[in-house]
């Protein structure tokens, strides 16, 4: 048995899309020519954002969508200093494991 499909409006990208018929369909479209994402909730709320983590947080807040999508790199220092990546187990160590003669 195949579930019925319905066509949803094409949205900001050229992609016509068909999704399973349901009341709770969320969409995240990637605006062409930019790095911005556009999120659309089944309730009609829409917002623009800069990364998928912020976008999903905003969408999953349904029905209490915040005024804005949290932007990436908020709270990150202008020059981010990353920590080292620690390896505990020998099998995870990279590179040749043979002595050099």
């Amino acid at each position: 048995m195949t579930r019925p499909l319905r066509t949803v409006p094409a949205g900001p990208t050229a992609t016509p899309t068909r999704v399973l018929d349901g009341d709770r369909v969320t969409r995240v479209a990637w605006l062409p020519g930019s790095d911005r994402l556009l999120g659309e909730c089944s309730c009609g709320a829409r917002a623009e954002g800069g990364d998928p983590i912020g976008m999903w947080q905003w969408l999953l807040a349904h029905p209490d969508h915040p005024a804005q999508v949290a932007e990436p790199d908020a709270g990150v220092a202008a020059v981010h200093v990353p920590p080292p990546h620690r390896v505990a187990r020998p099998e995870q160590a990279a590179g040749p494991r043979t002595p050099l003669r």
Binding site: T15, T17, L20, I53, E91
Partner: protein
Amino acid sequence: MEALFPAPVTAVTMGGMTSIVRNQWYVAAYGREIGREVFGRTICGESILFWRREDGSVTAMSDRCVHRRFPLSEKPSHLVGDTVVCGYHGFTYDADGKCVAVPGQTRVPRTARLKSYPVVEQDSFVWVFIGDDDRSDTVPIPRAPWLDADGYTTVSGMEPLAARASLLVDNLMDLSHETYLHGGYIGTPEVANTPITTEVDEDAQVVHVSRHMDDADCPPFYAKSTGIQGRIVRWQDIEFHPPCLYLLHSRVAPVGVLPEEDGTDPGGFHVEVVYAITPETEHSTHDFWAVARDFALEDEGVSDFLRESNRTVVLQDVVALDALERVLAGEPDGYQELSINIDTGGLAARRIIAAMAAAGAEQVPESPAALAR
């Protein structure tokens, strides 16, 4: 912020919870793998025996003899009619897993019974239900009918993956990696550079990711199979039914050739790529792959080419994911990952799988020793 979407749960967790989603259907084998011989495969950490009854229907039960745990899939265990006879001491089980004969006595102990698994054979797959049997009727099995339909020719296989299933889900939910990992096969520069639209049907728990390229290079995978020369319009529509069935609807046509107004599409070449992502253990996965096409149906050369090409692509993923599993296994806590726009669909899939795992989780079962009499 990244903490709301944590990295997939590893096996080293608290309270016996695992990352494998229970109370779901999983592809255990292709129909052609199961016959009138005993066949064993581990699915979601459970050792299962498969065989066909004389009427052709498939049955599945635990792959350990209740007596001394000999694997019933090992020689000299064998079938006699609709029973399986353990190769060690001859314990004999019927097609429902019930022991019907033991050596040296007429009384068969009441606990001499193998767990029996619900099984459905459909779309060229043998599906098995992992979880509480009485929930199997409430969980639908997603479909891929083109794998066993007129009008399509299918090539298929399975590769063992020494990596947890979530890594394969991540890999398949973002096809940008084709440009890099599979360049020269199915990858072209356009794939990674084309925006995607992600849709999630929360009720049906399905994730759709679409990438429509209006003017792209035609990679060898499609040029050689369709005969198209020159640039193409290439549509990739992913439809993922967590936790197991992944569908990639692929449409290829010369640039400018679009479907008709009435919905028919005589000018397009359609390839349905299907993956079934079935955990073997917490750290290994059965990677079932199939490619169905609606053109050049009788052309053995095209079948051979698609089979070898797709297998090459799958093996490229296997090598990469095996390496990734090695560096992740047992990694100290506290590492975060970084997600960018191409990860939108993968993050949605992770979220749905995590919700399914929580819904399907059960209490840690009593130890077998406590149950044995």
